[in-house]
Every structure is written in C-alpha cells, then in structure tokens.
Symmetry: C2
Subunit: 222 residues, 2 copies
DNA sequence: ATATATTTTTAGATTAGTCTAAAATTTACT
DNA sequence: AGTAAATTTTAGACTAATCTAAAAATATAT
C-alpha cells in the first residue's frame, strides 16, 4: 500500500516528468512538495525500495512503470472528484483544487469506478485536463495553447494549463470562460501579446504569459 | 485542528457515551479504536490538553462541549457520505461503512454544506441513523427497537442499530429491507423471540438479539 | 481488612515523516 | 585543471501515533 504522503510525491514526480525527458532533481521535488531537500532524499530512498521509482543518489529520480500507474490513479481520482465538485455540487472551478487534493487519496476502486459512471465517464476535468481511464490511459484531447494559434483562426476555450486561483479569477474577470469562442485579431511580434475577440462582443488584450496557459480547440470549418 | 486519529477517538468516545451516563473507561476506548490501553492513555492526555475531553487519570473520560461538537460533525459527514454512496452511486447499504470511514475526515465546511443540499437534506443515513444538522443537532426520529413492539402492532422498518456486514446480509437474506411492513404475530415469553409477518406474504422467525437491532416506526392508524 | 485480580498509567522503544546543520558530490567558471 | 558555487546526502533530532513490559492504582473477594 502507498500512503497519503507517498502518493503525493509520486504525483509530483509524474507532473515534473511531463515537462522533461531527464531525471527529476531532488530540489524540484522539494519545491512542489513544500518540504526540504533532505526530506525528499529520505522519501526517494523509500520509494525506490518499494520499486515505485528508480533512483541513484546524486543522479535524480524517475518513475517506474509501477510508480507511474499509482500516480495516474491518483490523478484520475483527483480529476474525477473535481468534476463531481463542479458539475454536481456547483462549486466554481477555482474552488475545487484543495478539496480534491484530499479526496484523491480515498482508497476504493469500486468507489472510483462508480463515481466515473455517475459523472458520465468525463474525458476531462473542469480545467480541461484529461482524465486517465481505469487502465491509466490518458485520453489525447489535442488541445493547443492559445499562444500557438495564428491570426484570424477561430478556436474554443477548453481549459487551462495553470490552476492558481489568481489566474482563474483573472480569466473570469476578462470574461474568458470554458467554451468561449475566441478569434485572434492581432499578434504583437515584439512580445507575442495578443488582441483577441471573445464571442461576438468583446475585444480584449492578452499577454503571452496568459495565452500560454489557455487551452483551446480549433473550430472545425465544415 | 483535529487530526484524523483524534477525530476517530472523539467519535468513539461519543458513541460509548450514548450508552451510559458514566465516564468512559480507557479499555472501552481501546477496544473500539483497536489499539492498546497504553496508547489510549497517551491520546486522552493529548485530547485533554486540547480541551476536547475532560479526563483525570484512573477516572475515565468524558467529552467536553467542544469535543462533542467535533464528534457530531464527524458523524454528520460520515452519514451524509453514506447517503451519497447509496442513493447516488448505487452502493448497497452493507458496503459503505469503510469508505465513509475515510471520507468523514475530509475537511471543508463548504463541501459538507453543499453535499447536504445535493442529497436533499436527508434526516437519516441508509442504516436509519439520524444525521446531525449543521449546528450539530441530532434530529429526533422516534424509532423503536422491534423488540419493544407488542403483538399485532403494525410497524415499518426504518433502520438498524448494528452495522456489521454479517447482520446486514442476514436481514437481506430473510427479506427484511428498509421500508418493509412488519406485523408481530407472536412473542415467545421464554426467550423473547418473535414470529413476524413481513409485507403480506412472508412469515418469519426472529431471535430477540436480532429484534433488538432492528429499528421501526409505528404505522399511524388514521 | 487484606490479599488478589483487574485496570490504568508510566517508561522506554519504534515507525513515518519531517527538520537543521554539516559533509559529500556534482556543476559551473575562470 | 583547479576553485568556487550549487546541489544533494548524511547525521542527528523532533513529533505523532503506536507498541510491550513493568509499575501503580483501583476494584473484588474472601
Ligand atoms: Mn494530495
Ligand atoms: Mn484540475
Ligand atoms: Mn474514521
Ligand atoms: Mn451508517
């Protein structure tokens, strides 16, 4: 069995692994777990003994297949609970992360399976993140960052690549909600900032920093 | 803040207190927490420092008002989650206790409030146990034990006073489900065992031990 | 009332997870 | 290559929750 704490470490190593092909450093893990490097070293040795990570001292860490499976199941639970909180209990999408952070450690395969069914087998969570299926397979949603879209293309907002309350509330303020239709009016060459049109009414200015964190889907022109 | 473990101790002391007006013994707590008396002593000193119980060594323990409030909120969460698992996810009533045992420690007033609303503010859980309201008030449901009912009285099964899987499956086997109409045909003077009629069809024999753990409501004759 | 049995507490140890400070290793920079 | 800086690991300590074994207190039974 994996403890609450071990699961959080595995999840964080998984997230860091998505951004690179290299081994993950002790310090990177320490930053996300909000602990000190010394604590991380202890835990990595422990996870290594349990065959959940491959780790040699001073050489960084990598998930084993077994460890990745555990991480994916925790992420699956996290995202399913987020869907529950937003779709069934009416929470706002910027209020659910902390609660899901606790719920993700509840231990019952039967529960997860039934919850998934109750929610209608959703493909992604309220932030647009894909939900691994019961086998740990992450669905390919094919979303792009708004920063990769070219001028005049029409897209629909599908999610975010960052979950901070700050960011989510900023999006709410400028009226950029899930499902919003977006058209790129102009791209500023110098700083890659954008002028976009949201729906039919609003024009709006976006920094590249924001655009990189907005996930969109191209509208099919058929 | 109260930890997972502290909450379990408080809940157990609450349950034991319901059966007596006296102080609760260290051993009684140890039995239900599945720990040793020495561990209980340590925890009681700690809970006492936090003003959650009143405790003097060798004299047993009692919840303070503050401790009772915490216990009631844990019980509230436990029972609400049980309702969710049965009514929304389709679990059987004998499958939900262990899962609720974990869910009851999730920490968010907002979550509990919204869950309560989502479930339609239920008065009792799938076992017929009353659900404390947000102020910690336990609704008076006025259910009686089947063992207290007199011959020829008509009653409806509303719950159970015991949650063991064994017991619940036995009830299922003899067809004694929530909402079943029961009529007492005969009471055996010697061992207080009962012959009852369930619904219109079945006659059935019940030991006093079973009858004591079946909760019923008298049918209004109007 | 005294001796015996039971219950409860203390003393000392263990495990998981964390910390600080110091030592070891790796990386980066002349 | 040689030194300085940064990273990582070890050593030793702490807290929460638990245990066993021994001591202390309470309850029970002659
Ligand atoms: Mn977590
Ligand atoms: Mn999410
Ligand atoms: Mn519990
Ligand atoms: Mn119950």
């Amino acid at each position: 069995m994996t403890s609450f704490t071990e699961e959080n470490y595995l999840k964080i190593i998984y997230k860091l692994s998505a951004e690179t092909d290299n081994e993950i450093s002790t310090n990177a893990v320490a930053e996300l777990t909000q602990t000190k490097a010394a604590s991380v070293t202890d835990m990595l040795r422990k996870l290594s003994e349990k065959q959940l990570v491959s780790y040699q001292k001073y050489q960084g860490v990598r998930l084993t297949e077994k460890g990745e499976k555990v991480a994916l199941m925790v992420i699956r639970k996290h995202r399913l609970w987020e869907v529950f909180l937003v779709n069934k209990l009416g929470f706002n999408w910027d209020e659910v992360h902390e609660i899901a952070e606790e719920l993700e450690h509840i231990n019952s395969d039967e529960l997860v399976q039934r919850l998934d069914e109750f929610l209608g087998f959703p493909q992604c969570d309220p932030h647009g993140d894909p939900i691994p299926n019961r086998h740990g397979l992450m669905p390919e949603l094919g979303y792009k960052n708004l920063s990769e879209i070219t001028v005049n293309q029409q897209v629909v907002m599908m999610g975010v690549a960052q979950h901070s309350t700050n960011f989510l509330q900023y999006l709410a303020k400028i009226g950029l909600n899930l499902g919003a239709k977006i058209k790129i009016i102009e791209i500023n060459d110098f700083d890659k900032s954008l002028t976009i049109k949201i729906g039919v009414k609003k024009e709006c200015f976006l920094s590249n920093e924001v655009a990189k964190n907005v996930l969109v889907k191209a509208i099919k022109m058929d």
